[in-house]
């Protein structure tokens, strides 16, 4: 520890601390623009100049490490003079157009200028003008305001993983730009708006719609991926104007993914359902709540009395709150029915009843960056959990070795030590190889259950898997780690794969052999919570897939658009078509709900209170930040009244807090979670490693901006590069095998459904796979996200005929 003195106040700090960190620790304010605690030090704005005893000139506090006995003066005459001079220089080329600048009121330059600037300018010459750049639909630029702090450049390079902005030119001609009018495509790009200390980079959708002092800031929790990022919703006149991150070091640090930041545009979508609606003779009619609820209850009751309670099926969105999940489960159970499930994008349910507890991430989010070895199985991490990818990137920067087993060779924007790109079915075999190689390396074969040992006997370990196994046990090129910290995680593609059970069991076994932490990275904001509550079929009930395969007479839908949110789009659509009654609790009118009978408008997360449970088992409650739109009601209230109307007992909750209390039964929520989160299995599952599927396999990722009803309706996100036209992507070898060239039209068939799409070669897709994204209008005719698929080359004329037929069928 070093003893130093700042403005006469003594403080003890670690070796290597910079003056600015020491001052921050002490609470002494030093003005700054380019310095940011999460970014590398650039020391190019010079705003943080301070006087240090025995130094002849002022020193930048951000780039000067402290030394024993250092005496620092931040407000001495010399320091203040230096700061004022820098301020004057920074303002020379700044347009001072604060009245029309969106940053006005929350601008670092404005604030610091008030504190350190002169009251007038001595500069009378012409100011320079820098032309604005178009860097995409999310960020608007006013580059004349830029003070070249390079925070945005450093963020994209260091945190985003890809330097998309840079400073070209030098001296007076220096300017921030993307390469030749390219856009910034990072899925974390919105953070550069927060980082920009001036108004050079501002929020494009929010632009000119409010001043910062008109906004009320209310805390909430991000509702899309399962990180549980803390957000601050900015509200004006009961309308959500924008979303910013709320600092939470252990979860989202001070960042936010673009999905969490811009999805709010979907909340103000014209698609919002404002009044209850009933379908009468095929026509939608607006009605009041009482009629709608009584009609819905009546229908459900009639069908369950006539066909048995089993005729009802409830599909629940994993983005719904725990309270909503609990109530719909109780409601369905109350009717004597066990058909309720939240696992809409899963096909493999063989693990049901074999788990000890609720599967989760297996460690804390902030532990990731301390891992030495990471294995990601079936995960396109940047697409699934954009901000979590950043933690993995940090781990890799810290020297961790990343191994990836996936059907897609997407660039995670970090160094990959080992990767094996194979079809989803072959992932199982690869995992078995790794297990075999590792048990040999760890000399642990005796510890494996005989069933598994026998299986491994037949496995042949290939050199690339051997290398991956060596990495996972800690062997390295120069240094062998004796007890490496290992993390093994299964992503969305593994979760939706038909052989998830095998992948999970083998990953568990590998974890056991290597002493790894890890588990699954659940897809949605409340997936873990839904599992914890048991929003899953009771022993006699049907799971999400079975409910669609064997169509029910009546469906109760909570917050979903069946054909977009379910694993098997075609199946979901036909089940809804065939049903006698579909009661949909939804925030949106939607084509996907055309076959519903009753639409009950519910409030999205900003208009209701509730609780989400994140991937790391963190239980976080939030309150409504705005009033419900129109006649929307929080879903927990709707479910309560629906249950009462159905004549069920035990639904007398007055608030969502009461529901929460009931859920946790007086226990501390974190205790409740702690005792129930467990990735272990009660028994071994039958594992088949050699499954050869003769044809092609679909890799049907859900694009991140199509993941749930809210984000699907965010216009700015739809305009990004991620919202690419639907294509069939094939490995170049497969293209040759099928005699295809780029742009050819192909008929894609899965089960009985098919669609026509253009084809494109993509070396990032494993041979034997067809990459067709899911959750989109163009791919609704298709089946499982991960399953057998066939393609056939057709001519443009045939494609046109197919499309016109499709159009006819829809009308």
């Amino acid at each position: 520890m070093l003893k130093i003195e700042i403005d006469g106040k003594p403080v003890e700090v670690d070796h290597g601390t910079t003056i600015i960190d020491a001052a921050d620790k002490l609470g002494v304010a030093i003005p700054r623009f380019c310095y940011h605690k999460k970014l590398s030090v650039a020391a190019n704005c010079r705003m943080c100049l301070v006087e240090v005893e025995k130094f002849g000139k002022p020193l930048p506090a951000c780039a000067t490490p402290v030394a024993e006995g250092m005496k620092i003066f931040t407000r001495s005459k010399a320091a203040v003079q230096a700061q004022q001079s820098v301020m004057e220089f920074l303002l020379i080329n700044h347009p001072l157009d604060c009245p029309i600048c969106d940053q006005g009121g929350e601008c670092d330059l404005q604030d610091v200028a008030v504190g350190y600037g002169a009251s007038g300018s001595r500069y009378t010459e012409e100011k320079r003008v820098v032309f604005n750049k178009n860097i995409g639909p999310l960020i608007s630029t006013d580059m004349t305001r830029c003070i070249q702090c390079t925070r945005c450049v450093r963020f994209l390079k260091e945190v985003g993983g890809m330097q998309e902005l840079g400073m070209v030119g030098r001296g007076e001609h220096a300017e921030i730009t993307a390469y030749v009018d390219q856009s910034v495509n990072s899925e974390l790009s919105g953070n550069i708006i927060d980082l920009c200390p001036v108004g050079a980079l501002t929020n494009k959708p929010f632009r000119y719609s409010a001043r910062s002092w008109e906004l009320v800031r209310r805390p909430s929790i991000a509702p899309h991926d399962s990180m549980g990022s803390h957000i601050e919703v900015h509200v004006k006149d009961d309308k959500v104007m924008r979303v910013l991150p709320r600092e939470k070091e252990s979860i989202n640090e001070c960042w936010l993914s673009d999905r969490d930041r811009y999805s709010y545009e979907g909340l103000n979508s014209p698609d919002r359902l404002k009044v209850p609606m009933i379908k009468h003779h095929g026509e939608w009619q607006e009605t009041d709540w009482k009629t709608a609820l009584e009609y819905a209850a009546g229908q459900i009751k009639d069908i369950t009395t006539e066909h048995g309670s089993d005729a009802l099926g409830a599909l629940v969105s994993p983005n719904s709150t725990m309270e909503e999940g609990y109530l719909i489960k109780e409601l369905v159970h109350g009717l004597g029915c066990g058909n309720v499930d939240y696992r809409l994008r899963q096909t493999d349910f063989r693990l049901d009843g074999k788990r000890v507890g609720t599967p989760w991430m297996g460690c804390n989010i902030d532990e990731i960056e301390k891992l030495d070895r990471i294995l990601l199985i079936g995960s396109n991490i940047r697409n699934e959990h954009p901000l979590l990818a950043q933690r993995f990137r940090k781990a890799v920067d810290n020297g961790a070795e990343l191994s990836i087993i996936s059907p897609l060779d997407n660039n995670p924007l970090m160094d990959i030590a080992h990767k094996i790109i194979v079809t989803p079915n072959d992932i199982v075999n690869v995992l078995a190889q790794i297990l075999k190689a590792m048990s040999k390396l760890q000399k642990l074969s005796l510890c494996l259950p005989p069933q598994l040992s026998e299986l491994l006997e037949q496995i042949h370990v290939r050199p690339n898997t051997e290398a991956m196994a060596e990495s996972l046990v800690g062997l390295g090129e120069t240094v062998n780690l004796i007890a490496p910290k290992v993390g093994i995680f299964l992503g969305n593609m593994a979760l939706s794969a038909p052989r998830f059970t095998e992948m999970y069991s083998l990953a568990e076994a590998i974890g056991g052999v290597s002493g790894a932490k890890g588990g699954i990275l659940p897809a949605a904001a409340n997936s873990t919570g839904m599992h914890l509550l048991g929003v899953m079929p009771a022993s006699t009930g049907m799971h999400a897939r079975a409910m669609l395969e064997v169509p029910r007479k009546a469906y109760l839908l909570l917050n979903i658009e069946p054909e977009l949110d379910c694993q098997h789009a075609a199946l979901a659509r036909s089940a809804m078509e065939k049903a006698d009654c579909v009661v949909a609790l939804t925030a949106y009118k939607s084509k996907a709900l055309d076959h519903a009978t009753v639409l009950l408008p519910i409030a999205p997360f900003t208009e209701t209170s509730g609780t989400f449970m994140s991937m790391e088992g963190r239980i976080q409650s939030f309150k409504a930040v705005v009033k419900p739109l129109g006649e929307c009601r929080p879903a927990w209230k709707v479910l309560r009244v629906l249950a009462n109307t159905l004549g069920l007992q035990g639904f007398d909750f007055e608030s969502s807090e009461e529901v929460k209390l009931k859920i946790f039964d007086g226990e501390k929520p974190s205790d409740f979670a702690r005792s129930r989160l467990n990735n272990n299995m009660k028994e071994l599952v039958e594992i088949e490693t050699k499954i050869k599927s003769p044809g092609l396999q679909r890799v049907g990722e859900v694009p991140q901006y199509e993941a749930d009803p809210i984000v699907r309706r965010s216009e700015p996100l739809r305009k990004t590069k991620y919202n690419i036209k639907r294509l069939v992507r094939l490995h170049p070898d497969e293209m040759r095998a099928y005699d295809l060239v780029e742009g050819d039209m192909v008929l894609v068939t899965q089960d009985k459904g098919s669609t026509v799409l253009p084809v494109r070669p993509d070396a990032h897709v494993a041979p034997g796979c067809v990459r067709v994204a899911a959750a989109h209008e163009d791919t609704l005719g298709l089946g499982d996200l991960m399953g057998d698929i066939s393609i056939e080359k057709i001519t443009q004329e045939q494609a046109d005929v197919f499309k016109s037929k499709q159009m006819e069928a829809q009308n």
Binding site: L165, V168, Y179
Partner: protein, 157 residues
């Protein structure tokens, strides 16, 4: 696409740095490509970036920072005349004037036949030979007089 000769030269430069620090060779690589192609087009910069495995913008930053990289076409011969204090005292003005007259172009312009381009340079650290100019960043001509300039131009053509 980089030529085989350029790649060979860049590979030699890369041997000077650790294997995982390919970015370190960006300045040499840009120089090699500029020498070969005369100037650095966006395509050339992208080629260099792709070869070194760095973002395009990172190569562009370097190419625009140093004034010896030309991101605009410069003709066959780029003549850079120093106009800093030492050369100015030794009457570089008359050299500049003479060159402009003779070539019929101003600073940062290319002559109609595409042969010459004139640039205003900063001190090249050889004030002992003032006034001076350099051609294509490689050859320096010292103790200039209008007559000597004529002779040089003639030789270049």
């Amino acid at each position: 696409m980089l030529s085989a000769e350029a790649i060979e030269k860049i590979e030699y430069e890369l041997t000077k740095y650790p294997k995982d620090q390919r970015q370190a060779a960006v300045m040499s690589a840009l120089r090699i490509v500029q020498t070969e192609r005369g100037w650095l087009s966006q395509e050339s910069i992208s080629d260099v970036a792709a070869y070194l495995g760095i973002p395009d913008i990172a190569a562009l930053e370097v190419a625009t920072f140093y004034n010896m990289y030309d991101t605009e076409p410069v003709g066959k011969y780029k003549i850079t005349v120093c106009t800093n204090i030492s050369c100015m005292l030794r009457d570089s003005d008359s050299i500049v004037h003479h060159l402009q007259e003779k070539l019929g172009i101003g600073f940062n312009q290319v002559s109609e036949d595409g042969q010459f381009c004139l640039k205003e340079g900063e001190c090249m650290g050889a004030c002992g030979g003032a006034p001076l100019m350099s051609v294509n960043n490689a050859t320096m001509y010292e103790y200039l007089t209008p007559e000597k300039v004529d002779k040089i131009l003639k030789e270049l053509k």
